[in-house]
Symmetry: C3
Subunit: 97 residues, 3 copies
């Protein structure tokens, strides 16, 4: 599982999704919009929960086989700031594991 | 931790939640709606971020003890398409680990 | 990666975010609002997906180095009910791992 942290002000989501879909052909990807958060910049976004901030966090996640996930991370790491990609191992139900 | 990928057009969420709650009695479950994504079908949903698509991704997650989570996966795997359930190990704070 | 389960009715989010940001200075945090879910209380929230419940689940996540994440869990565990904090190991891209 690979998670990429973006923010709505990045405008980085569309090219990243396009790369994952068209070029890397990962099995699937989901993007979730946070309702609050802060990052290394120290800015707290949307803690009021009614703040219609234009800079809420976006979290993109996808999973694929380990070697493909690793290659995808290498390919996309220039799309985002350092330290904004995390990954962990998961079992996929259909693999029998 | 068990994650199940659904989409809004599946109409599979309610029976799945009901099964998890009434029959399997897992400790808790949360459902998050994605704002964009694509799946094995190759369809990109909502990348415009203003697209009020009726088919956005839904991500259901729950956690329980490993043997109970495993049993739950076996029970619910017929609710969803193959490869749409992933799981990974987590530590729970109250367990002292 | 540390995940904390809250609900909108807790009013615990703001003090928790403040603690994570001001005192623990974790690298970042994101908060996501679920669209449905249930907890140990057995209450099912928002399964209709149009229910404008005031008590939807909130999921706060942050990551940091293992020893800092551990310390953060110890600090924040009194903010939430037992069993509402889970954690798992992740690789961060910029670490070369």
């Amino acid at each position: 599982m690979v998670r990429v942290y973006l923010s709505e002000s990045d405008h980085g989501l569309k090219p990243l999704l396009k790369c994952l879909h068209d070029e890397l052909k990962v099995r699937g990807a989901t993007v979730t919009r946070g309702v609050a958060g802060f990052g290394a910049s120290g800015v707290v976004h949307g803690t009021s929960l009614v703040d219609l901030s234009a800079d809420l966090p976006l979290v993109l996640e996808f999973f694929d086989r380990p070697e493909r996930a690793r290659a995808a991370i290498e390919r996309i790491k220039d799309f985002v700031q350092p330290g904004h990609i995390v990954s962990w191992s998961v079992n996929v139900e259909s693999s029998g594991n």
